[in-house]
Symmetry: C2
Subunit: 585 residues, 2 copies
């Protein structure tokens, strides 16, 4: 670590002679591998850009020059070089820093970013502000790993043309998205790689850009030379750099998809995922695998996130052309779904709760307004310790307030399977299912619910005075609270699994008025605008009190789940205290 | 009308000899002009594509072949030719049909569509379904009028490449969006027009498409020939057709922006808008015009909708490069805004409530998570008689449930100006303002409210038992209800203007508990997930009853506002009846 030891700021970096930079990048690479080893993170993508980022910082002058990272999961080398190397080296600091850029961490990070394809638009804004203020600096959008295929990146590219001033789009082309890239854009990148940038068929030139290609994207000397040539350039330019995903770690180079993001692992080089414990995404895909054996009348669509939703390579092989990865194109994925169903093919979209947000309008217009019986499986929705960029707490307010949509929240494996069967069979409703998170709960009993009776809640246990509605993941919590109330306080509460979270079961709630004083709703997401608020509104005109539990309307990053539960009074003991004091009033 | 008289179906159309088609298109054009004359509608765009659509239906076989219209505001000729001409001719039927495609009207309309850039994605879905089912028909996406610049259209284009089968993208290039087109994509279209499609620099070829250009896009004979050549083509192809916006009506050809959409007018040719009565959008832009004279430290951004938000040509001339039209790129517009503010330029986005939905994720991530003090002006939010595709009732649930965002709802001109001043000055909060709709209400008294005291509601009148909260547009309704209660029933109700609709004023609401039995919330938007539900939740744990009034969660099209108000019990007399019966309980 001789070189890295000396680097505490970008000024230190610039003192190093060019010929020593390669050694430095090796040290940076080691540090990245070590961190991911210990706490997990984006590995392959970060290894690919060590030279690229080092060269950028060597040539340009951050923070005067503005670096905007797309998605920003490739920012590890950037963080190491901008005063944050200790967070990659010292064990006690490893988890004290975000894996994404964060304006609160450093003046070298311009945005908190975690979703794709926004960097060019943001860079256009900064460049336009610079020009209006007659200031003078370079603006760089660093984009790659599939993000260029997202529609907003194109909107940014097309608008960048209007700037007529400095804007440098650094395209890190590692030939991959999270998984493989798809589509005409990536075909053109392939042509450009094969012709070393010389092909006349050039997407970027067609959009009016100047264009530079560098094939040796992990050669620091060539990178430095390339960047020096285009520094202070006065028109928008695309510099297309061919890098190698996983570069420098053979197992990552050879297993690009698996190494895009890694869980923490024991020993260097042993990152490869072993056999996965059963989880809900696996339950989903097993269901479709079994269904597919009998009937191939459906397709599964993924917006470039098969790993997030556990669509294994093996499963993809079985599905063949019944699996469609559309790239990081959430909007397209939803409109595409509407077309598939219009063409009489049952279509299922597997999408992360956080990324689903991108397609709000398409879900509302193309699916729900058109009453298309699509199935949207929403993954990961819960209160978690994730980065704020990936908080998956907004899906209930988003989906449950759209007309026509049925949003289901299963509480266990069998119910999930029952709902999937319903989704697969029904042709009446736009449907979304909130795939549970956490350990798989199994009742062992097949779910025979008739989900065509929409908005019918399930009463699991009849009681009085108190009714507890446990939504999806939090049904177990509701059930535990009921148990404790009975055992410790001899209170026989009503326990309800709503299943449907896009509307309330008016008859059932009406009946509660007779002999219930308090209704408690436990919801694993943001409270505001969510399911509990519908229950509040239902009882607003009665003397039944309602207490909603869930996340506050706030952005939180990597906060320990215990702290969140404590703050939101979601610990079972707290809920019970609240109930008891309510009954005593 | 000799030819059109004979055409009651597409079969009739196909019987007409090619050489007579030109006469037919003249008749269709006359009918379109007559309809828009009488009830308003999209004029320029529809006049441009009369020949194009007639030729398409002459050559292809709908409904076997699938026609997917982007935005679908250019579908008039399509409707006339597919059995709906009476709705364009007979006075009593003119308003009985949608101005957009609607699957419930005809088997020739595949989708209910009103937002842009979805057609290629939908066409990909249908084409993929066709291929999986081994069926055989043509799939056509008909896109133009600026929609190609939207990011989703690009996602669709890039994905279409993967099809390797029939997909015909008919690009209607009338050189315009609603207003002028911007960006590198449109520059390339210009190059292609100038070179009659021969330029090597070809955006579509770069994405792997076959490409055909037709310069005489209003020449029906050439259109028929072109389409015949590519019918049953077995790879994705783009056919780029140069049309003339407003074609056939000189005043529309010469005033393309004004004639994109027209209000109904008395006499042919007198469509040009006269001096506009004062309305809230004009109040906004007058504010910025006056501000700009003193200080040019801000920019106004529009996603291609200057006419919707009344950014007049004169105002644009004054603003010069401080006005930025980004094209139909709502996502980009928001991320771009975050960049402008990061570059220390105050930036204001003027966006329609309905189109704002496209940028949900960017508002949440790029603006709110990053705590960027942007100003988003949301236009048209209300319960109206619009098409379901343009229902502007979802913006409160969307924006008011996003952390960090302050959403303001002014109730009159002076308050709007006060809030705009605050927005212009403050650098602390992501801010949105719901621009009121309807006739301008003026108090004549300058608003000196300190909006830095966030979430502070205004009590306009102190009373007891009943408190009425009137949100934005509906404050007047609340005030009227109060007046009637006092005059007719001698009930002195509390009247509240919340101003802030993203959170509740806890202190104020807490105080209401003392001497109020019922709180009424009147909200000009969808109830579910909205502001009223926040009030419900606040009082859920008390004995104060809450009654929320607003739109139901439903899609409605062109329903008379009186019917909606009646259904939602939003008539003042109904609200009063409800209150009286509540007090008598």
């Amino acid at each position: 670590m001789k070189l890295l030891d000396k680097i505490n700021s970008l000024e230190d970096l610039k003192k190093i002679p060019v010929e020593k930079l390669e050694n430095l990048t090796k040290e940076i690479r080691d540090v990245i591998i070590k961190r991911v080893n210990k706490i997990g993170g984006h590995l392959g993508s970060n290894l690919a850009v060590v030279e690229l980022i080092t060269a950028l910082h060597y040539v340009f002058d951050s923070p005067k020059d503005k670096f905007i990272f797309d998605v920003s999961h490739q920012c590890y080398a950037h963080k190491i070089l901008t005063g944050r190397k200790d967070f990659f080296i010292k064990d006690e600091l490893l988890d004290k820093i975000s894996g994404y850029t964060n304006q609160n961490e450093s003046e070298h990070d311009l945005f908190i970013t975690g979703h794709t394809s926004t960097s060019i638009s943001q860079a256009c804004g900064i460049a336009k502000a610079r020009d209006l203020k007659k200031e003078d600096y370079n603006v760089l959008a660093i984009i790659g790993d599939g993000a260029l295929g997202g529609g907003e990146a194109f909107e940014g590219l097309s608008n960048a043309y209007e700037l007529k001033s400095n804007l440098i789009i650094v395209l890190n082309d590692n030939e991959m998205s999270i998984s493989n890239n798809y589509g005409g854009l990536y075909k053109n990148l392939e042509i450009l790689r094969k012709t070393k940038g010389k092909s006349k068929t050039n997407f970027f030139k067609a959009l009016g850009f100047e264009y530079v290609y560098l094939d040796e994207g992990n050669d620091i000397t060539k990178l430095v030379k390339t960047f020096r040539e285009l520094k202070d350039n006065n028109v928008p330019i695309v510099v297309h750099i061919h890098t190698k995903k996983g570069c420098g770690l053979r197992v990552a180079e050879e297993n690009k998809e698996e190494f895009h993001w890694c869980k923490k692992q024991g020993i260097d080089g042993k990152y490869l995922r072993g056999k996965q414990d059963e989880n809900y995404p696996i339950v989903v895909n097993e269901f479709f695998k079994n269904t597919f054996k009998k009937n191939q009348d459906f397709v599964i669509v993924s917006p470039a996130t098969p790993t997030l939703t556990f669509i294994s390579k093996e499963f993809r092989k079985i599905l063949k052309n019944h699996y469609i990865d559309v790239g990081i194109c959430e909007q397209h994925s939803v409109s595409f779904l509407s077309g598939l169903l219009k063409g009489k093919i049952k279509a299922i979209l597997e999408i992360d709760s956080s990324f689903m947000q991108r397609a709000y309008d398409q879900i509302l217009q193309d699916i729900c307004l058109n009453n298309i019986p699509a199935t949207i499986l929403v993954y990961g929705g819960n209160i978690s310790q994730s980065e704020a960029t990936h908080q998956r707490v907004f899906d209930i307010p988003i989906l449950s307030n759209i007309p026509n949509l049925i949003y289901l929240a299963p509480t266990n494996k069998e119910e999930l399977l029952g709902m999937l069967s319903f989704a697969k069979e029904q042709n009446k409703y736009p449907l979304a299912i909130r795939i549970p998170t956490g350990k798989v709960v199994s009742t062992g009993e097949m779910d025979n619910t008739n989900y065509y009776e929409i908005n019918k809640f399930k009463v699991i246990q009849n009681g009085e005075k108190i009714a507890i509605i446990g939504v999806g993941n939090f049904f177990e919590k509701a059930s535990n609270v009921c148990d404790i109330l009975r055992k410790k306080y001899h209170i026989n509460a009503t326990l309800i699994n709503p299943c449907f979270i896009s509307n309330v079961d008016k008859d059932l709630l009406e009946n509660l008025k007779e002999n219930h004083k308090v209704v408690v709703v436990l919801e694993d997401g943001i409270k505001e605008g969510g399911f509990g608020y519908k229950v509040c509104n239902f009882f607003a005109n009665s003397f039944v009190k309602v207490k909603c539990y869930g996340a506050d309307k706030e952005f939180i990053s990597r906060r320990k789940i215990e702290l969140s539960y404590n703050k939101y009074r979601l610990e079972e003991s707290m809920i019970i205290d609240d109930i008891i004091s309510e009954l005593e009033e």
